[in-house]
Symmetry: C2
Subunit: 270 residues, 2 copies
Amino acid sequence: MTGETHNRMSVPAGAIQILPVDGLPEVRSGDPLLQMIGDAIESSIGGIVAGDVVAVTHKVVSKAEGGLIDLRTIEPSPMANRFAKEWAKDARQVEVVLRHSKRIIRMVRGLIIAETRHGFICANAGVDASNVSEDIVCILPEDPDASAEAVREGLVRRFFPDHEGESSPIGVIVTDSFGRPWRNGIVNVAIGVAGIAPLSDYRGQYDPSGYEMRASILAVADELASAAELVMHKLAARPVAVIRGYVPQTDNRSGTGLELIMPEDRNLFI
Amino acid sequence: MTGETHNRMSVPAGAIQILPVDGLPEVRSGDPLLQMIGDAIESSIGGIVAGDVVAVTHKVVSKAEGGLIDLRTIEPSPMANRFAKEWAKDARQVEVVLRHSKRIIRMVRGLIIAETRHGFICANAGVDASNVSEDIVCILPEDPDASAEAVREGLVRRFFPDHEGESSPIGVIVTDSFGRPWRNGIVNVAIGVAGIAPLSDYRGQYDPSGYEMRASILAVADELASAAELVMHKLAARPVAVIRGYVPQTDNRSGTGLELIMPEDRNLFI
């Protein structure tokens, strides 16, 4: 199932590979994304194997789902106009951000940190340049978990036609790059998840020295998203990567991207 | 230079490998950490190659540097006593957290979010269970960048004895697991960096569609730390991993972990 190899080195036991997937054409609204991702995986790395986690940037998902907004159709509100004027922003884009926000967390120095309809807190409510044209912006997928599940189902049907049973042979994450309040730079995180547990909960387990693990819930789906970004990187315009050899250390019951959102009652930074 | 292989699959072009490094013995104060890490890398994966990034959890660095504190020697302050009593915490541990904080950001429901002397904002100012004994806690390294640089220098001396010139053949990151304000679960981040650029700045560059990248500074050292965690995972007690095949996409001038701290004037969430 592996693709062409250009490297004599083999993979040591326990290693994880982050495989770049090339050859995905520019995605347009209504395109058959499942088939395009499957084709790119097949031609680029020869297919997928059980245990693989497929990472897909939200931008291609949004584009396929028609999540592009033409700013020429947007009438900015008075607040969008005032904020845009003060900070030399595009009022139409500010308006799109406001329309896709559930609430505004901060609105300072031209920055808008907002909670999206889904509950994610991020810059500009996830509204982003589309790379299609200056007048077109890209919004987050309507339901990133459903998008991840659709990709997962499609890939299982194609690469594991005989698969039966409840547990998924592969995982899929839909990713976006988020800033962090106290740390410089953005990192890739998972906004949609299917087929894997997004959190790895070590509480109650014991480490090799016999000490019980406390406060140890790892956001593995975010770590997988960050790992994938290392080969997706911006200039390569590579929206898909496959992580091979990841072995979940705790219960891997399939979960959702919403589990990665801090519950309201534990959110200290609103 | 590769170690034993247990897997027939080779590595496709452009792939990154995350290699677990086994065999590091329990580290004690004053231990020759450089040599121990070098030995573990050699026996576990056969050595390192140019371009490798070595990730080391801060806990073994702190232990080697004597960064363990015996709670039996700590006299809690009145505030530490009150806070500990209210939230059923160990007042001596609260006192250690306060002593290692530059300022407290939040102190609620038994949680302390604090800024460390270095400038990191994290739970308990980075003070952590040591896994040595219930009475011993582990603090962050005094200077994580210096610790990373010492490991880098030692590994270059050992594995690249003929290396000359300014640019480093390898990178080293010292890692810790931090929570995030709006996201559930902790993720591995880089607190010390040597030999690589912690941030990848795409601003002013153009993507394949000809669009200029904006607001695109990626915290690649944090993404590398998160990738490493996927093989280090808690129960394996594996404090070292090597990331092979990472290709920086922007200027890779060697930087520090301090560059990953959001500057005060851009910090919206104090």
